[in-house]
């Protein structure tokens, strides 16, 4: 029998073993943290379990933070509830998503759906604010990591836009460059 809703969360056996820190320290946001700081982070993050086809969050829904995949597989989809959903990415253990909402309560730009039973580590805006208040140097490291990640994504988006622009402006030249 499938346990769902509130029951699944009441009776879920939360195992916060050491591997939680192992997963977190491989994420660019938390790579600069020391072992002690990772232990502090471990106490702040939320461990959530999602069943197959259960949505983590929906497009346009207000979001509060980042999810790191500990186990399972997550699909990032645009226009999820329409006839023509567009899969943007399929993520596995060690991947993360939703980092834009960590800066503030912004709308989710896509839907995230669990494609198999998945265990996610959630790190949210209020937790980041608390870290910045109580452990400023740790907060600075995470903020810098977040800035680097967002800059990386922006650089990638820019290069994609440049490719599209080049194809539109001069298809022959773009073809020649590619070949």
């Amino acid at each position: 029998m499938k346990a769902d809703g509130i029951w699944a969360n009441i009776f879920r056996l939360v195992t916060r073993d050491e591997s939680l820190a192992d997963v977190l320290q491989n994420i660019p946001l938390f790579q600069a943290l020391t072992a002690k700081e990772l232990r502090i982070l471990e106490r702040l993050v939320h461990l959530r379990t999602y069943e197959t086809d259960q949505s983590v969050f929906l497009e346009t829904e207000p979001g509060a933070g980042i999810y790191v995949i500990r186990r399972g597989r997550i699909e990032i989809v645009l226009n999820h509830k329409t006839e023509h959903p567009l899969t943007l990415a399929e993520l596995g253990p060690g991947d993360f998503f939703g980092e834009m909402a960590l800066l503030g309560y912004t709308s989710r730009s896509a839907t995230a759906v669990a494609r198999e039973r998945s265990e996610l580590i959630g790190f949210f805006h209020p937790d980041l604010i608390e870290i910045l208040n109580v452990h400023p140097s740790m907060g600075a490291k995470i903020s810098l990591g977040l800035a680097k990640t967002l800059a990386e994504r922006l650089r990638f988006t820019n290069s994609q836009l440049r490719s599209i622009w080049e194809v539109q402006e001069s298809p022959e030249r773009a073809y020649a460059l590619r070949t």
């Binding site: 259960q54 207000p62 933070g65 208040n133 109580v134 452990h135």
Partner: protein
């Protein structure tokens, strides 16, 4: 392996246990409401100081104990060093004379009001006060022992509850959040955080407002004292500061208490005018300058809503109800806003 917690019987037992726990919590809250609310006030007010100490690596519960000790020492120091004239001892020593002077002054006010406004019929302030005074005094002295006992118990309970809220509050909040189904998890997290921020900001804003109102009142009475005698400046500034924690009704309550103090003292009527002028000016400065600066960011409630929730709070829980009415109303507003936003999002998709 069969899921042990998947059985319907176990679920029913768990649900009954949960219901019983909620019932027990509700009964406990009914009994402990006053100290619990006071403890929450203390927690929110102490929070910035505790955060500063936590930055230095001190444990939250130890940080609370340090801040509590400093606060107790500061209050004790102020009480010890405060001049006797500010402690109402002079009034307590001659309460008969105080009541006599109060009735005489009230009689003068009554005669003045009757001569100036005959169209409103005759004011019978003194007769009304004399009629009600005996009943109020009897009830006051009957209730006094239980008030003192309750106050003493609450005084001990408040730091005790606050200590545990500081120590385990965050863990409890996390456990509660963990119980929320995945679908509403992030929404609940955002909601709780916004409520927390609003209540904390409101209470801290109110405290700053109280201190500033008290300071402005003291300065204005000091200015008034150049022209007319103005005794008990610090005491009245304290009364006006403390009562201003209740919106709208607080300043009125402060004015009435200060006026009673002046009417009972051996002072000319010009002192009373000076006092009323200072109170009115302080209230004006509060409304125009202080309140918009310290409260505008915290609670976004319409003045009519504020008045309404104050009346409902007062009806349900008296003075305590008026004190917690606005934080509770703003929390309800946040919950409704989040649910409405979620509903709209579901309609759109």
């Amino acid at each position: 392996m069969k899921n042990l917690f998947g059985d319907t019987t176990v679920r029913v037992i768990a649900f009954a246990a949960l219901l019983l726990a909620f019932l027990l919590v509700f009964v406990a809250i009914r009994i402990l409401l006053v100290p619990f609310v006071a403890a929450l006030f203390v927690v929110y007010l102490f929070d910035p100081a505790i955060t500063i100490l936590r930055r230095r690596g001190i444990d939250p519960s130890n940080a609370f104990l340090i801040v509590l000790c400093i606060t107790i020492l500061a209050i004790g120091g102020v009480l010890v060093l405060m001049p006797a004239s500010l402690r109402l001892e002079s009034i307590a020593e001659s309460k008969e004379a105080f009541i006599e002077r109060f009735v005489t002054q009230l009689d003068a006010v009554e005669r003045w009001a009757n001569s100036k406004f005959p169209m409103f019929g005759s004011f019978r302030l003194v007769a009304e006060v004399n009629d009600k005074a005996a009943a109020i005094a009897t009830r006051f002295f009957e209730d006094l022992p239980s008030w003192i006992t309750n106050f003493a118990v609450n005084l001990l309970l408040v730091p005790f509850i606050a200590y545990f809220v500081i120590r385990d509050g965050k863990t409890l909040k996390r456990r509660l959040i963990e119980l929320v189904p995945n679908r509403y998890f992030e929404m609940s997290l955002i909601m709780l955080n916004r409520i927390d921020g609003q209540i904390g900001g409101y209470l801290r804003g109110r405290l700053i407002e109280c201190i500033l109102v008290g300071a402005v009142q003291a300065v204005l009475m000091g200015i008034a004292s150049i022209f007319v005698p103005q005794p008990y400046i610090l005491l009245i500034a304290g009364i006006c500061g403390v009562t201003s924690i209740i919106p709208y009704l607080g300043p009125l309550l402060g004015t009435i208490l200060s006026s009673v103090l002046y009417l009972g003292s051996d002072l000319p009527m010009s002192s009373m005018y000076g006092l009323l002028g200072a109170v009115a000016a302080a209230h004006l400065i509060d409304n125009v300058l202080i309140a918009p600066a310290v409260l505008s960011q915290n609670v976004d409630l319409h003045p009519l809503t504020v008045a309404l929730v104050l009346i409902i709070g007062g009806e349900l829980l008296g003075a305590l109800g008026m004190l917690i009415a606005i934080p509770v109303a703003s929390s309800i507003k946040v919950v409704l806003q989040e649910f409405y936003a979620n509903y709209q999002m579901q309609v759109r998709t």
